[in-house]
Symmetry: C2
Subunit: 417 residues, 2 copies
């Protein structure tokens, strides 16, 4: 597999790309380098407005689908051929970094701009997918999931945010609810997403670029326990129904799952709340989340089953009742092997050190993989820091990754068979 | 020990007492039977206003000290003799019950009103102590602690609430900051507090009344862990500094302390918060509280030392830093044995079933015990439910306990030697 020789194109403008990232961060900056644009918030709307403005200035036409996915279109010379697509997401977690998501959008835009002088046979579509992070609405990758037909528009619009907002209402407030058809009805020729690694593998190995072979599976749960509030000093343990103890017992068991299923199982308890949350009152209620990930579907299922058993055991041991809700459940995804090989070869052609790796995080590309050949390029994250305002990538690694993205997209846009 | 024969007095009006409790609950009712009057809140101020009004209507003079402790005075015929004191607190936890604290205040008021027609030699002072619960400001029993000289006024006024308010500012907003001298400068002849048990011992045994022999020791801590926020799906466990894991590890260890120190050690984790509190972000910070209680000072110290070790171990195991703050630390208290025996004898004289027991909860009486003979009367809590709006006591048990309180205070007020 070699990268097909494609027509020459201008180099994407990496300076402009960084200026655009500065502008996105300036909406709601988080020191030292991060930003917050929670999905469908006023901050996210401001980011969308910037993207729409840049696309318009570049002469690209903009379409928006009913869940707010935005598509900026560079037409090809052969409108009969399905376009190539690239992009990512502009939303962030509450403690978002500079590059997470936004890089993939502005990089694809820079490639489209560079191609515009001499449009290739296939068009290039730059995508910004709604609510990739899942930090405000669950599941994560919601926009791309809807786009590929994995979740109905009606169901998506009814989803409630952690702040109580209904997704449909939040979307309407941004004015980015459109009527463009879903991608499931007009699959791209291929999808390539540039993203920062969000982990330490490339940085630790001192490599410039990663060719992503797939995405590990994800299982998210929200668990609530209900017990009885009582005086912390006057209630013997045998008479307590301590919902806090139930949650702590379960959290402890969830974090111990990697000891049983191996270090490739990632377990995180990111949320925990006790009610009434007073030092001297036995909690009557507790809610918490568990995030489990593994590259292998069978192991992830087994760990998820073990979590189920731990929920029941924690409830039984404390005399509490438990309810468990699945917030997301995605099997591991394997990317298109030809496309992965093409990225690897492209990195080599540019003289860049690189390796194959699996993504620990979920990405829009895994949804696109359901309807077209898809793959990803990773740029190294310094220290592996992610979902943190200190997230960073060396400028030369950004430039190198954008170059490989441009080479790959240019070649794909010239594939006419 | 027998109850000295005292002058006859009218029976306290228990119907009025219940109507007053209705009025206190009506300020901020919590179904089914509870109320919220967090210390020095607008709700607490409204309760203080009711108490002040009732005292004034009864012809009692009101004084207030610099931390807001309120004293309603029934003068005796012998002003040279130190008065007897009774009372409790009108503040509640966020999920407060009907009788917790308020019963002791309105019961003492009812006794003072019943005595007023024929004042005894010693006066009777009805006390409402500030911030007994510790649910808004730590430590608990703050008002009585200051009153007996255990904490300076200046230090108390600087304490910050869980909602960020400075105690001095919150107190000023209630207009209940006065200039009455502290009790440490004018110790009462004796202090007797009526309170609901807040535990299941009397109710399980089917007894009408408890003569409280003392209060178990209390150790409260707030612990914070700091780690590093990172992506839950892309960060291997070996590279995490998970503050949530640190807190969960410590909480699990704290709740296991009774296995090591015996079931008389009560351990509660009432508060827990993770930052940024997102499902897919490894927590960068976690805060939690631990409430430990034991009747024996040495065992409590040993458990508290074990907690210290567990804090260090949790921090070390997770690569986090830990800070620990003592919010309260009170040794077990032994009440005046003559007074305890007098309460027992009084219950027997009224034909009430009763037993001696130790208090699991902290009470203002334990502070008063530092400066005068002190003891407590417990009324049974149905099902042991406390710090819960469902807290309740049978009306006949309330009436019986008020009668024994009246008998005991009447006898003390007639002690002239």
């Amino acid at each position: 597999m070699t990268t097909p020789l494609a027509a020459q194109m201008a180099a994407p403008n990496v300076e402009t790309l960084q200026v655009r990232l500065d502008a996105l961060c300036a909406i709601h900056p988080l020191p030292p380098k991060g930003a917050q644009r929670m999905a469908l918030s006023a901050d996210d709307k401001a980011g969308r407005d910037l993207f729409a403005g840049w696309a318009k200035a570049a002469g690209l036409s903009l379409t928006v689908d009913p869940v707010g996915n935005m598509y900026a279109h560079l037409p090809g010379t052969r409108p009969d051929l399905a376009p190539v697509m690239s992009g990512s997401h502009l939303d962030t977690v509450a403690t978002g970094g500079r590059y997470d998501g936004a890089l993939g959008v502005v990089a694809a835009l820079a490639v489209a701009e560079a191609m515009a002088a001499a449009p290739p046979p296939r068009g290039l579509v730059v995508a910004n997918f709604t609510n990739e992070e899942g930090a405000r609405f669950a599941p994560d990758m919601l926009g791309s999931l809807v786009a590929v037909g994995g979740l109905s528009i009606a169901d998506a619009l009814q989803i409630t945010a952690i702040d109580g907002a209904r997704l449909g209402d939040a979307l309407a407030a941004t004015r980015y609810a459109g009527d463009a058809p879903l991608l499931s009805e007009r699959a791209p020729h291929a999808f390539v997403e540039l993203h920062v690694e969000q982990g330490p593998v490339l940085d630790e190995a001192g490599l410039a670029l990663g060719a992503v072979t797939g995405v590990q599976g994800i299982a998210w749960r929200s668990i609530s326990f209900t017990g009885e509030a009582n005086h912390a000093g006057a209630t013997p343990h045998r008479l307590r129904r301590d919902a806090g103890r139930a949650a702590i017992t379960l959290a402890h068991a969830a974090l111990a799952l990697p000891e049983r299923f191996g270090p490739d199982l990632l377990a995180t308890v990111g949320r925990m709340a006790l009610t009434p949350d007073l030092i001297n009152v036995i909690p009557e209620a507790a809610t918490m989340t568990v995030d489990l990930r593994h590259p292998d579907a069978e192991t992830l299922n087994a760990a998820d089953d073990a979590l189920d058993a731990a929920i029941s055991a924690a409830a039984e041991a404390t005399g509490c009742t438990a309810t468990s809700q699945r917030l997301a459940r995605f099997d591991p995804v394997v990317f298109d092997q030809n496309l992965v090989a093409r990225i690897e070869t492209g990195a080599a052609a540019r003289g860049l050190t690189h390796r194959r790796l699996i993504s620990g995080a979920g990405h829009d590309a895994q949804m696109l993989a359901r309807i077209c050949p898809a793959a990803m390029i990773f740029a190294p994250s310094i220290g592996g820091i992610s979902h943190n305002p200190a997230e960073d990538t060396a400028p030369e690694h950004i430039a190198a990754a954008v170059t490989v993205l441009a080479d790959t997209l240019n070649a794909l846009c010239h594939e006419v068979t």
